[in-house]
Symmetry: C2
Subunit: 356 residues, 2 copies
């Protein structure tokens, strides 16, 4: 490396303003005494070039510190080796976990992932998707199955496969679970324990095929036993811990004999808020109030008492979604639906109702 070496010929390692320019395939080719095509081959299909040549190229590339320009590669191959993910929010641990394992899997397959969040808004999601599509992602992971129709249209047009997660579908490829069934079971568990008045509180259910079915599951379980879930016991809150605190107030405000004895929450964060408020107001959990969360967030097991919750294997969802998408991008045939099984994790926040 001799920056000021006066070279009579075209000096490939510096440009007009004297700055050393980054080496390109051409430079490697010259140094190795081969053509640029061979350089490309050595990098992409090493087995197709003779060992001796291969090594010469490798050596030259290493010497120059050559790094392939992926924009050029993307332009030429029409594939970006990039995939996109849009989650509703980074504030929900379960999405972050899924995203993380999705990313890990994709990364291992040589893909980078572009992530975005929709803030539970269809228009925002569409906007982010458009951005990702323009960026040329080769695949897209979405949460849930309710999206702007235009999103599907554009993805289709660009031939970008979509994998849906966290909910099931019979029209799209998906990795998810039956949200309604999950809470249906949890509700039945409570009902079997003797509870008669259940409440359900979730985050927004608008355009949300996870929260809405979760509420339905509780309604359904009660209906099957001839019980009715009072509208006052069916709450939609803005997600998050503080929302849970508020919910407690609304739910437990009425006369004692009308208060729910068990609450099923759409997320552990909501459950935590409820527990926190209960503790503050001196309401004993699980003695006078049973609580069931959703997701089994990391903090749930160490609360006092430990939160009974519906565990969903977010890592598995992330990983399987990545694998599925990888298959779709390879145009391979594959199973359309991957069903994950949520599990009711029994801990300390559930007990039979107070017999009073």
């Amino acid at each position: 490396m001799n920056p000021d070496h006066p070279s009579p010929r075209k000096n490939r390692s510096s440009n007009s303003d004297g700055r050393t320019r980054l080496p390109v395939a051409q430079d490697v080719a010259e140094l190795a005494g081969v053509s640029i095509a061979t350089v490309s081959r050595t990098l992409n299909e090493p087995e197709k070039v003779r060992p001796a040549t291969r090594e010469a190229v490798m050596k030259a590339a290493a010497e120059l510190g050559f790094v392939l320009n992926s924009a050029a590669r993307a332009l030429s191959t029409r594939r970006s080796s990039t995939v996109g993910v849009i989650v509703p929010s980074y504030g929900n641990e379960v999405f972050v976990r899924a995203l993380s394992s999705f990313q890990r899997t994709m990364r291992a397959a040589g893909y980078q992932v572009l992530a975005a969040s929709s803030e539970y808004d269809l228009a925002t999601e569409m906007q982010e998707a458009a951005f990702l599509l323009q960026r040329g992602v080769d695949g897209l992971m979405l949460v849930g199955g309710i999206h702007d129709p235009d999103l599907y249209a554009r993805a289709e047009r660009s031939q970008v496969p979509i994998i849906q997660s966290f909910s099931l579908s019979d029209r799209e490829y998906c990795v998810g679970f039956d949200n309604r069934e999950a809470t249906f079971r949890a509700a039945n568990y409570l009902l079997d324990l003797g509870h008669k008045r259940l409440a359900v509180v979730t985050g927004t259910r608008e355009n949300n095929d996870r929260a809405a079915p979760r509420a339905e599951g509780v309604h359904l379980a009660m209906a099957e036993r001839g019980l009715e879930l009072s509208p006052a016991h069916d709450l939609i809150v803005s997600s998050g811990i503080v929302a849970g605190r508020d919910a407690f107030g609304q739910l437990m405000g009425g006369p004692k004999e009308q208060r729910p004895t068990g609450i099923i929450c759409g997320t552990d964060e909501i459950a935590l808020g409820i527990m926190s408020e209960a503790s503050e107001r001196g309401v004993d959990i699980p003695r006078t109030l049973s609580v069931i969360g959703f997701n089994d967030s990391s903090f749930s097991a160490v609360l006092s008492p430990p939160l009974t919750t519906i565990r969903v294997d977010a890592d598995e969802i992330g990983k399987s979604s990545a694998l599925a998408l990888l298959n779709l991008m390879g145009a391979k045939t594959m199973v359309q639906v991957t069903r994950i099984t949520p599990e009711l994790v029994l801990r300390g926040t559930v007990a039979p109702p107070d017999k009073l």
Copy 2:
């Protein structure tokens, strides 16, 4: 072959196998009756093209559903409008928050962000960075100031600016705070309350300029008062809630008169683990043990008792880092160091030591 050979009729809207091809600038140009250069201008510098022409182009683009190919654009401009972020882990809420606000800010400026996690490992970080650099990111956000020297070298070579976060530096551009001072203050607060035996427990301190200084801060505060922090009261654990539980056992295992009366934790997760174990073992917090966390994670305020912690404005860090990086990428001059002020949030886990 033959340059003057009349090219076969070019059907711009479909290719050989009949599939409708995505429209490109050329198609828009033809439909609008202008040149491809004008299409480009309309899209990038609308003010430079006459209103009438602009509208014609816009109309044509909309009609065809034209989407600019960003790989081609990146190749041509040598800028990808993409930035990279590498955080130590997605398991720490504070990094996710910073990442999220970093992303929001970048997104608003027209950049996409590629995120990666290093799992607190320098080699992994280097690998991810290399991947990002190859991807042609225009800028990079890193957590802390301890990285593979080669990382700096390569970034420099590609002229990719780096913004360091969560710690301060006098050599690099950074948005962070003085980690040592933060715990130093917290320790002094406890000391002022009358505590004599403090403990500190953090995650790994190897190549970590956040955890290590946090431990130092506690040592320093005690040293200034002629007290010594027993090695047995200085723990390094793998981060996370369960690690905190273990830490409790180790710390509180000794004879009563040697146990610490106050613990300062490197993260709220560790503090939560400690609180959980304390509760299980019937150790009263804050009566017989004071606990201070770090970061003010979302759950901290609603624990019982609410966790006293050192709040760091992660959103601010993410946003300011993004702004700083945006400036650096624009080659604008800017402040080198943005100092964030951590705040000790007094809640329920701290009290004077038991006078026994």
